[in-house]
Structure formats: C-alpha cells, structure tokens
Amino acid sequence: MTNLLQLLIDALLMGGLYALMSVGLSLGFGVVRIINFAHGEFVMLGAYGAYWALTLLHVDPLLALPFLIVLGYLGGWLLFRGVVAWVLKAPALNQILLTFGIALVLQHIAVVLWTGDVRSAMPEYALSTTIIGDVFVVHGRLIAFLVAGTLIAALTTWLRYSETGRAVRAVAQNHDAAILMGINPGRIYALAFAMSTALGIASGAIVSFLINITPFMGFSILLKAVAIVILGGLGSIAGTVISAFILAIAETMVAYYVPEGAGWTEGVAFAVIVGILLVRPRGIIGSALAT
C-alpha cells in the first residue's frame, strides 16, 4: 500500500515536469499550427544552460532560470521571424522537414559546444530527501514540480486574463476573426512561438535536477511530449496537463510492475501515440486552446 503511495507521489512529481515540457509544444501548435519537432532540442539547450550556469558561473540553476527563460524567448522569437515564418503557408511536408532540420542543427551545435559526453547540473540539495511517513520525497523532484506548477499557472492565468493572452486564444480559435478585432496575427504567432521556446528552455533547466544531460536527449523528450499533446488533444493546455500526469503514472507503473519495466517505459509513449492515433486522432481530452 505504501509502495503504491510512493509510486503515485513519484509519478505526480514527474508529471509536473512532463506537463511543462509539453505545454510549450501544445501552445506552439495551438496557435501557429505547426508541430515543432525541435521542441525536444529546446529542452536540451535549457538543460545545458543550467549546466553552464552551474559550472562556469557557479550560479544555481533556479537563479539562472529567469535569464534562461528570457534568452529562450528571444531565441524563439528570432527563430520564428528568421526561419519558421517563411513556411507558414507551405505544405505540411516543408513544415515538418524544416523543424526537423532545426532540431538537427541545434542538436549538433550542442555536440560541438559540449561534446557528446554525459553531463550533470544537479546541485547538491537536489539529491537530498525528506521522509514523510513512509514516503520518500527527493528534493530535486519536488522543486522541479513546484517550478513547473508555478510556470504553468502563470501561463494559464496570462492566457485567460491578460489582453494579449486573450488575443493569443483568439488567433488560435479563428485567425480571420482575430484580424477583424485589430489583432496582428503575425505578431501573435511570433509571440506564441517564442513563448513555447521559452517554456521548453525552462523545462530543460529543471530537467537537469533529475536526469543527466546529453546532446541527444531531445528526441525521447520530444516523443514523450508529442504523446502527451496528442493524448490531450492538440492545442489544449488543460488536456496537455492532464495527459502529462497520465503518461507519468503509466510509465511509473510499467517501470515498477512489469518485469524489466525500466526498459519498457520508453515504449509507453509509443503505445500511447499509436493507440490514440488509431482510436481518436483528435485527442481524448480537449480541443483548441480551451484552457
């Protein structure tokens, strides 16, 4: 019984991080209507950002987080204006290949900068634990969960109540009607893409609390995020958050209860994607940015 509780706590803490990784992807798709295959690479770059902050500047990743978010926003904005904006009206093939190419470029920039070696940016306190009853809580996981929760809450509040957040949802729901409101969709696209990038970078910075960093970590993260976003319904923030927890719980259960489960966990995302696409390609939980 306590075992189950421990598993659920672990899954819950992990789910927060998964949610943050996927919310950016979901936002980008919901507004710009492009699945960004480079999203996993943003997470990877965020993790290396935290690594550099810790090793070069001796700055705690949590302190570096706001700067990384701003950098991610600027980088995403430039990437959109400079590259992605040019394929908005192109066929899906071009869009897919373009973001795939961006992923390849970012991945190997990381190889050049940091080599393929495994790195870690875990501050010492991330490894310590607190025992509540019979449940172990690893501080790194708890912090990651809290940061993810704060950022997602900030995002949803902004989308819901701010003037610009409302404009973002308007563009996602009806592009032409948004123009009639005086909203400049080009600006909103750039903003949403930049935000999506910043969220990816932010989740990378806190991923470094939990796992090791390599230039190639982005792909499996992307796959998980895609599974989550599809399960939640492409573009729905609320759906994304819920399905992030579903995936985290499913993975944790598989890892624990299936023999040699740790190896199979990577397959859970695959099973979810194939299952959903076969049964309900529009996703299970939500639709267009219904936060």
Binding site: E163, A167, Q173, N174, A177, I179, L180, M181, G182, I183
Partner: protein, 243 residues
C-alpha cells in the same frame, strides 16, 4: 463632401478566379447603405476587401479621404472599420464577455471599453444574460447578436454587417434589425450586406444590387423596392434556392 468610404474599380478574387470586377461603391457619413445580391455575387468578397482580409488585385479604396489599400486588416480597425462577418465567426471557446472584450482590443476602443460595453448590452439585453456562457454553445441568433455587438465594441465609424439575418427565425431577425436601426440613429455609417432584400431595404437609405461581381443597379431604398431588376434577379433566385 467626400464620402466616408469609397471603392473604385475594384478587381479581386481568390487564387486564379476573379470574383469582383470593376466594383465601385460609396458609403456617406451617417448613411445606411445596403448591398444586395444573390449567392455568389461577390457580396462577402466586397466586405473582406474593405476589412482588409482579401487584397484587391487593382482599384482604389479610400476611407475618410485616405487611401487604405496598403493598410493591413488589423490596422483598419483603428481607423474605424468594423465587420460582423458572414457566418458570425465568434470565438467559440470563449465566453460572451471575452468575445466582447476582444471587440475592443484596438487601443482607441480599449479606452472607451466600459461605455461601449454598457451600450452593447443595452442594445442586446440577451447578451447580458449570457455573459458567462461559451459563445460556441449559443443559438444562431444569439451568436449573431454577439458578432454585431463585438463589432460595435470597436467604436467604428463604419459598421459592416454581412448577412445578419441568415438562418434566423423571423422574430429574431426583427430584434437584430431593430438594433441595426438604433445603431444607425447613433450616427454610425452602416454597410448592410443582405440576401433578405425586404428587411435590408426597410432600414437602408440607399442600396446597390451586385450581380456577377459588379454593380447591376443602384438607387434609393424606395426606388429599389419597386425595381423590377431587384425582383427578377433576386426573388427568382431566392425562390429557387429555397427548399
């Protein structure tokens, strides 16, 4: 006096197909002008050209004396052009309140938001009852009121209404048109696009008949009401398209 809006010799279309050829219309300050025509005559394209959603291939658009052909759609709202589009196009996942707030997104309208909101809710009391409801879940008539209300929220000098009576029950059409007449009394110029000739001519000062992408006839509302052309070109087609 220069008219508030003038289109001269507009040619426009989608892809390779030409929809409007050589279209010229005017709307004066404070006027209610209706644009009549059958399905596919180019009425909606005309409103899209004025709102900046469709770029004309050639021709001139002037608003309040200035050429606006090069002004992008989202900036025309600040000039005072508002469109309640065909098919209403409300934001379905947002509440009525949020839809109306979006109507006053443009900076000049945002400053005057509270007053505009009061006016719109007075004009359409039904919307006040539904403020917290998701727009996508409302009836067609309520969505139409919301679309018009949302357009009025932008403090327009020219309000364009594209087929506001389409698909509505006769009683709701009366409500909507009462609101149109009241808006006109407040001094806002209105370009009313309709297939419902009778309702449109009842509130309009003048009208144009659009056929095959160009103006086939024009005149005062009274003239058009009696016009054989309007009857034949139109009532005939309407009778055909009715189930």
């Amino acid at each position: 006096m220069t008219p508030l809006l003038s289109l001269s010799n507009i040619r426009a279309g989608y892809g390779a197909s030409l929809v409007l050829h050589d279209l010229s219309i005017e709307v004066g300050e404070g006027e209610v002008v209706c644009l009549l025509g059958a399905n596919g005559a180019g009425k909606t394209t005309t409103t899209c050209v004025i709102a900046g959603l469709v770029r004309p291939w050639s021709g001139e658009i002037r608003f309040a004396g200035e050429s606006i052909a090069e002004v992008p759609g989202h900036r025309r709202v600040s000039l005072g052009i508002a469109l309640s589009p065909e098919g209403r196009q409300v934001f379905p996942e947002m509440t009525v309140h949020e839809n109306l707030l979006l109507g006053s997104y443009a900076p000049h309208a945002r400053r005057d938001r509270t007053r505009a909101m009061d006016q719109v809710l007075a004009l359409f009391p039904r919307l006040e009852e539904r403020l917290r409801q998701k727009a996508g879940l409302m009836s067609g008539g309520e969505q139409q009121m919301l679309a018009i209300g949302r357009a009025i929220m932008s403090r327009p000098r020219l309000l364009m209404l594209d087929e506001p009576s389409l698909g509505l029950a006769p009683r709701i059409v009366m409500d909507v048109y009462a609101a149109v007449a009241e808006t006109a009394r407040a001094g806002i110029s209105i370009l009313l696009v309709e297939q419902n000739t009778e309702a449109a001519l009842a509130v309009a000062d003048r009208g144009y008949v659009l056929a095959n992408g160009t103006i086939a006839a024009s005149g005062s509302a009274a003239e058009l009401r009696g016009s054989a052309l309007v009857r034949s070109a139109f009532l005939g087609i309407q009778a055909e398209s009715a189930p």
